[in-house]
């Protein structure tokens, strides 16, 4: 704590005595002393997340014309116009695990490279059999920040596609107010604010030590599957202890970090229709700032859940019902996909609005955009719709259309993302989804 006080005293003196404009680059320099925020070779840290929506796309209208750097936005991708140069479209990959559980096989294939864990018949009974990409990456980079990872959703649902291990899901925060108070409430210190070190933090850690000890002792009495569950409880308790320890340390003091305005208490449905765009944008801005403040480097963003039957503005029926019942070219489904893609574009822009040095948060991150099947009507999992935004600090190409020459295994993308994010693995996935190589062509 001594170091902290000295540094803060120094900062306060500087800010009092000189113009604020001088302060910003200097503030960033101080991070070197902190060690972790600028850990990756003096640059900004890499961030990873995924952005998911339910019910697929309309395949014929998704895949862009042209490949490589010469490609045109397809009708369903048109809302990405403003961010086209920051996006890579990956098309033609296929999930090879058997498509047994509509809307479940696809996400498990993309995020775990494997089959669903327990396939109890329908989606409601299914779970992942392995950790999802975000959590594999959080294992690598999650301990540097206060939050190992942050899961958010726009549709009100506790269903999650983020899994720490088999059957161990991370339910998302779907209330903007709850997300705000969790991240920017008690304990958050904005740059320039005096940190308030709560004397109870050390006591809370002692309590968690006792709880952790209970878990350790309890494990000895249990069978294998229960041991795994108590291990998860223990790991969560340890993560919480680390979180509290972070509160006792200097907060990262990044130039773009600021305390956001509090969102509304509630975003009620209007005539049975949720305020999807409003909530999605508030969540996007909060998540972008959480990363600007280096409170987390890993996220998942679930716009809608698999099989979502949300009523979109202007639609004559729920989304899932329309994907199956609407005839012909499904103009309503197309309109819904375009609405979703435009919210994805908003998210990408929210990251791009955060300056980090000469670049932006978007440059220092990669977001995987994906859905639960390719063509919603048939639940197909070939020709998988996949998007990448950002280059993860220059590691990945942008403004690119990667067209798979021969329906490559979709796990190859997960492999590349793991490697890009510093996970030193030589394989990804299992069963039909097992791969030992990535998509070299999307690397910069």
């Amino acid at each position: 704590m001594k170091r902290s006080l000295n540094r803060r005293t120094l900062l306060r003196g500087m800010l009092a005595g000189s113009a604020v404009a001088v302060g910003l680059p200097t503030l960033e320099l101080f991070l070197n002393g902190n060690g972790d925020a600028l850990a990756s070779g003096g640059g900004f840290p890499q961030r990873f997340g995924w952005w998911f929506w339910g019910n697929g796309v309309h395949g014929d209208l998704w895949v862009p014309e042209g490949t490589g750097e010469q490609w045109k936005l397809s009708p369903e991708l048109l809302p990405l116009e403003s961010v086209k140069d920051d996006i890579t479209v990956v098309s033609g990959l296929k999930v090879y695990t058997p498509n047994e559980v509509p809307h479940g096989t696809g996400p498990a294939g993309i995020l775990t490279g494997g089959r669903l864990g327990v396939a109890g018949g329908d989606f409601d009974n299914s779970t992942f059999g392995a950790a999802s990409l975000d959590q594999l990456i959080a294992n690598e980079i999650g301990s540097a920040t206060r939050y190992r990872s942050i899961e958010v959703a726009v549709q009100r649902s506790n269903d999650s596609l983020s899994f720490t291990g088999p059957g161990q899901s991370n339910p998302p925060e779907y209330s903007p107010k709850a997300l705000f108070s969790r991240i920017f409430g008690a304990g958050f210190v904005a740059p320039g604010e005096d940190p308030i070190i709560d004397p109870k933090l050390a006591l809370r850690r002692s309590v968690l030590d006792a709880v952790g000890e209970d878990a350790k002792q309890l494990k000895k009495q249990l069978g294998a599957s229960d041991r795994q569950r108590i291990d998860q409880h223990f790991a969560s308790v340890r993560t919480l202890e680390r979180q509290i320890a972070k509160l006792e340390e200097d907060p990262p003091n990044l130039a773009s970090c600021q305390r956001p305005e509090a969102p509304l208490d509630d975003y009620p449905d209007i005539e049975g229709r949720p305020q999807l765009s409003e909530v999605s944008r508030v969540m996007s801005d909060l998540l972008a700032l959480a990363m600007a403040c280096d409170l987390t480097r890993v996220f998942s963003f679930q716009f809608s859940r698999p099989v979502s039957n949300l009523l979109f503005p202007g639609a004559s029926a729920g989304h899932h019902q329309l994907t199956h019942d609407e005839l012909g070219d499904q103009p309503q489904v197309q309109a819904i996909v375009r609405q979703i893609v435009s919210e994805f574009a908003y998210f990408v822009e929210a990251l791009r609005k955060i300056p980090e040095g000469d670049e932006t948060l978007l440059d220092h991150s990669v977001t995987l955009g994906f859905t639960d099947c390719s063509f919603g009507k048939s639940h197909a999992v070939d020709e998988y719709p996949l998007l990448l935004a950002g280059s993860a600090c220059g590691a990945l190409r942008r403004g690119y259309h990667y067209r798979s020459p021969a329906a490559e295994n979709a796990s190859k993308l997960g492999f590349t993302l793991l490697r890009t994010m510093g996970v030193a693995t030589t394989e990804f996935g299992s069963d039909e989804g097992y791969v030992t190589e990535g998509l070299d062509d999307i690397e910069a």
Binding site: D122, A202, A210, D214, G272, L311, A317, H324, D325
Partner: protein, 540 residues
């Protein structure tokens, strides 16, 4: 059913499953054998967490609602609790809730005095803290704590009392710790090897008391139950029966049975009804909650007040409505605010559970009805049939309403004639079509797009002309008693039955039938069944 291993033979099994009949075990033993599944830890549901806090401290505590969400598996949270873990956010939420509750407790003198059994002689009176940890801990964890465990939380308490210079500060942190422990958050009921029964583990007296309490009261054991565990009385057949009868006779059993049916019929989902307000002009944000209350009051009345025949749930005109529901149903409103019992008119098309807005609105689309969703509810939840998911890569669309196809029955023909669909849809859609006289929120209608609705059909050989006769067909369906018995068994034990236990369920169903479908008798029989007292050794 794990389709991943589907072979031709397995597919044949699926086809059988689609008949909706509970498959028979290959060999049926003459007497139901005891062959339970291994025990698994159950994470407290949100409801159980709140109930436990009310009982431990006071119903005046405002229990935080942001807690790790429940997991639902095989249609029940009681089963999902056996797979649930604690995520990172979950640990945060449990921590925040624990401190919130601890602070409410110590900042109110009556509540604080209610949990601290002694007068501290000093700020860091370790002896008094020890008595608190032993006493509160044994209630919260549903068993006496070991010496190590007591010491662990006394140490925490003394440290806090010293640093905060307050004995109650010590209580606050020790209490918050006890509530975050896996021994509070999980029901640790794992049993011990039983010398007389090789391969089995017998639940300890405290574990059995906890199981019984969560099953019949959905909360932690009360003083009398703890005493019966301390004395070992509960481990005897007569002791268990005595406690079972005591719990069932209490009004608290009603709340637990409401919880059972809330889980089973998915009534908690009524809080998130998505209905297009332009199409359903009677839709309002409170409709879902009211509809749930109707169903739960009707069940509570039938099961406990009337001690009636459970089959009447599907045929009775007796129900409970408030003004909103009375207006939706087009019947006279109660004179006073709130719910009142009512007798639907003699010629009412709406009778029984399948006339409740709860079931009708839940199993429908946001803009329309769904014969498939309603039929699936009847087939899988009420009659326990298995239905596999639709195959991938099939065209699932229904034609738009048109002059030639004005009603859902006309449009759904494809499901019922195309062989790749009809095998399963025939077990669902014809049932759902019997409910077409009720729209997507349960309002009665005679016509759809100008055409008179034909709600006739056939349930496994019993023809019906309308929803009322469909209800009668369900009430007299041969699967009904076994299905109710299976569901109660699964809820009580928090797991799916083993193959051998299907015979146990048959026996329970026979007892249920013999009692003229008295659900209290069934609850009692499930609690007294050996499957409730034993678990299998886990196979390595």
């Amino acid at each position: 059913m794990k389709l991943r291993h589907a072979t031709a033979a397995a597919l044949a099994t699926i086809a059988v499953a689609c008949t909706g009949v509970i498959p028979e075990p290959d060999q049926q033993p003459p007497e139901p054998q005891l062959s339970p599944a291994p025990a698994t830890l159950k994470r407290l549901t949100r409801t159980q967490y709140a109930n436990a806090i009310y009982d431990l401290i006071s119903p005046d505590i405002a229990v935080p609602i942001a807690l790790e969400p429940d997991v639902e598996t095989d249609g029940l949270k009681a089963i999902g609790a056996g797979t649930a873990t604690v995520s990172n956010r979950g640990a945060e939420q449990y921590e925040r809730a624990a401190y919130d509750i601890a602070e409410q407790t110590v900042s109110s003198k009556p509540l604080r005095d209610g949990v601290v059994p002694c007068n501290p002689t000093s700020t860091d009176d370790a002896e008094c803290l020890k008595r608190f940890v032993e006493d509160f801990g044994a209630r919260a964890w549903r068993r006496p704590l070991t010496q190590d465990e007591v010491q662990r939380y006394v140490t925490v308490g003394v440290q806090a009392a010293t640093e905060l210079d307050s004995f109650d500060g010590g209580v606050e942190f020790a209490l918050a710790g006890l509530l975050q422990s896996p021994h509070f958050l999980f029901r640790v009921e794992v049993g011990k090897p039983d010398a007389g029964k090789p391969g089995l583990r017998k639940y300890s007296a405290f574990e059995l008391a906890s199981r019984l309490s969560f099953f019949l009261w959905n909360t932690i054991p009360d003083d009398a139950l703890r005493k019966a565990a301390e004395s070992g009385e509960i481990s005897t057949a007569s002791g268990l029966a005595k406690q079972t009868d005591r719990l069932l006779a209490s009004p608290r059993a009603r709340a637990a049975v409401r919880n059972l049916f809330t889980e089973l019929y998915g009534l908690h989902k009524l809080d998130d009804l998505v209905k297009d307000g332009e199409i359903f002009r009677s839709m309002s944000a409170d409709l879902g909650g009211f509809a749930r209350e109707q169903t739960l009051l009707t069940l509570e009345d039938l099961i406990f007040e009337q001690r009636g025949d459970f089959r009447e749930l599907f045929t009775s005109r007796r129900t409970f409505v408030n003004r909103k529901l009375a207006s939706l149903y087009g019947i006279p409103a109660p004179k006073l605010e709130g719910f009142a019992d009512t007798e639907l008119p003699k010629n009412s098309a709406r009778v029984g559970l399948l006339g409740h807005a709860s079931v009708l609105a839940l199993h429908a689309h946001p803009v329309s009805t769904s014969a498939t969703l309603r039929g699936k509810f009847v087939r899988t939840v009420l009659l326990c049939g298995d239905i596999p998911p639709p195959p991938a890569n099939v065209d699932t669309s229904l034609p738009e309403p048109s002059g030639a196809r004005p009603t859902l029955r006309d449009r759904i023909t494809e499901h019922l004639t195309n062989p790749s669909c009809s095998n399963c849809h025939n077990t669902m859609d014809p049932i759902g079509l019997g409910l077409e006289n009720f729209d997507g929120i349960g309002q009665y209608r005679v016509r759809e797009n100008g055409e008179r609705i034909d709600a006739s059909g056939d349930l496994d050989g019993t023809p019906f002309r309308n929803a009322k006769e469909l209800g009668e067909a369900i009430a007299s369906h041969p699967n009904l008693s076994q299905c109710v018995a299976r569901n109660v068994f699964r809820y009580a034990n928090g797991r799916v039955e083993t193959l051998v236990e299907r015979a146990t369920i048959k026996a329970l169903a026979a007892e249920f039938e013999y009692s003229d479908f008295d659900l209290v008798t069934l609850l009692r029989a499930v609690a007294l069944n050996d499957s409730f007292r034993y678990a299998a050794q886990e196979t390595p």
